[in-house]
Subunit: 155 residues, 2 copies
């Protein structure tokens, strides 16, 4: 990490990955997100669908709600969301409504990710970047589902 | 309404419309929803994006969260959602994850509704019905946006 630019995309994705690890430890599908405005993290969240018994409690939704509450604004055109996995249709739909400035994701999700429908799922003003720390983000998910399969085969 | 079948689709859509009217009165985009299991309404909600400063606070999302909390289950295969407007991508993505049994909507939303991407946005087990009380559901939305335009032209 350069001293001249300490807050680069990898730095924030590492923070999102730290959130994903909290989900892993809590036996939730390990996806994490941080929401950043002017190099400041204003919301952190990880998937809590099991804890909250709520399919809508994805990291992205929780981070959006938290950030809007903090800023007092439904719209987040100045914000960037860093999330370890490509957002699903629900989350990309929410990101559309928020008019978020930028979305950066790590691992791709070919099955349930929004990119199969094209980037027009997001707001026209939203820019997208992906593949940041893809291997680390993906490895955590792979490890989680392997653990789950082993647990199932034992019981 | 027949005495033999008091709880038909129109009955539940009227309840969803009553929720939409609460949104209208609160100066929110007037969309309402009820979630029904075995002819019992287990959740009622209306759009509260302004009140909660949260783009994710659509009627459908609030109804899903409430119903899952009440039933103690993330999945709602026995439930039917009645909603006055065709769900958006965010809400249909959430409905997908919930594996909801059936979705019934009133007015179509050609711009932001999920049907433009096809019904595979919902879970393969979810059935869909639409056009129930379409005119009433649509008229409330038209009236709301006309009121908004008039207010804008005065200020």
């Amino acid at each position: 990490m350069s001293l001249l630019q300490p807050f680069n995309e990898e730095y924030f994705m590492k923070q999102a990955l730290a959130e994903a690890k909290k989900a892993y430890d809590a036996d939730e599908v390990p996806v994490g997100a941080v929401l950043v405005v002017k190099n400041q993290i204003i919301a952190r969240a990880h998937n809590q669908t099991e804890l909250l018994t709520d399919v809508t409690a994805h990291a992205e939704i929780l981070a959006l709600s938290s950030a809007s509450s903090y800023l007092g604004s439904k719209y987040l055109p100045e914000a960037t969301l860093y999330v370890t996995l490509e957002p699903c249709m629900m989350c990309s739909g929410a990101l559309y409504w928020s008019q978020i400035g930028k979305v950066v994701f790590g691992a791709a999700d070919e099955k349930r990710g929004f990119m199969r429908y094209g980037k027009e799922i997001l707001h026209p003003k939203t820019t997208i970047a992906y593949g940041i720390m893809e291997e680390e983000c993906s490895a955590l998910l792979t490890s989680f589902f392997e653990k789950k399969r082993k647990m199932k085969s034992i019981t």
